[in-house]
């Protein structure tokens, strides 16, 4: 079994300001820019993506996040949960972006530690008040389940209002390390 800290090879050169940079997987050309600190480096594995503020680009970015988490040895159920959380958070950033459509990117930052995974999604919206309790809407409603799903699939959810972009922080304890299969 490979540990989650096994490094992919070859390791790309270090990029200024964001640790070791790993090229974005080629299957996701529309996801904007992605940078990752490689597993096995001194710092914890991280991934940063800035993508255009569209549903299509958010979806592409979250596929990159999925691949990154798989490379860290997270199990299938965990990875699928994080993929859905990232999609819901990103979709909210697009849906509530300022009108006319925002040209400011949606940011995804993922950090994987020994015990936790943390996702930070930066939006450029008017912000919202995060309800303290997860509730489902009327079953006939076509909307309003995104936050509920994020709550159900995480241990901690916070929303930070900031001048340079609000930030949704999602955190969850890791499950058992899974075998990493070669790409």
């Amino acid at each position: 079994m490979k540990s989650r800290r096994d490094a992919p090879s070859p390791r790309p050169p270090r990029r200024k300001g964001r640790g070791t940079a790993v090229p974005k997987p080629p299957a996701e050309p529309a996801a904007g820019t992605a940078e990752a600190a490689a597993p096995g480096s001194e710092s914890e594995p991280t991934l940063g993506i800035r993508c255009p503020c569209t549903y299509q680009d958010v979806r592409a970015a979250t596929r990159t996040i999925r691949t990154f988490l798989e490379q860290q040895g997270l199990g299938r159920t965990e990875v699928e949960g994080w993929e859905l959380v990232a999609v819901e958070a990103g979709n909210n950033a697009v849906k509530h972006a300022s009108r006319p459509p925002s040209h400011r990117p949606v940011g995804f930052d993922v950090q994987v530690t020994r015990d936790h995974v943390e996702l930070r999604v930066t939006d450029h919206t008017a912000g919202f008040d995060l309800p303290p309790i997860a509730t489902l809407p009327d079953p006939r409603s076509e909307h309003g389940r995104g936050l509920f799903l994020m709550r159900m699939l995480s241990d901690e959810l916070r929303y930070l209002r900031r001048a340079g972009g609000n930030c949704l922080v999602v955190r969850k304890r890791r499950g058992p390390v899974q075998p990493v299969t070669a790409a």
Binding site: Y55, T77, E88, N91, L149
Partner: protein
């Protein structure tokens, strides 16, 4: 996405993913295929690898359309991720889920 009418059932298959970028078009396409004599919509989801809350919202909209005339929706062979979101949101109580979860 492909459609097939079998008696009073509209069968929908070939959906690889249902998310915020295609949910509205999906819902409109299915509604356009829906006849007044259809009493059931079967969604063949064995190839559907991802569903988000927007896609779920489209399914709920279609459910509202057909349930208003006494019809129902069946989700056939959903993959684990799809099954999970249906169960977390308790929509498995509204849609009939057909097909055993994988071992």
């Amino acid at each position: 996405m492909t459609f097939h009418s079998q008696a009073k059932t509209l069968e929908v298959s070939g959906i690889t993913e249902l998310n915020a970028s295609n949910a509205t078009a999906f819902r409109d396409q299915v509604r356009a295929e829906l006849r007044t004599d259809h009493e059931q919509i079967d969604f063949e989801f064995s190839k559907t690898a991802f569903l988000d809350s927007s896609g779920l919202g489209a399914l709920i909209g279609l459910y509202q359309s057909i349930a208003s005339r006494g019809g129902r929706i069946r989700i056939l062979n959903p993959q684990p991720q799809v099954r999970q979101i249906l169960e977390l949101t308790r929509m498995h109580r509204r849609f009939e889920i057909v097909g055993l979860p994988p071992a």
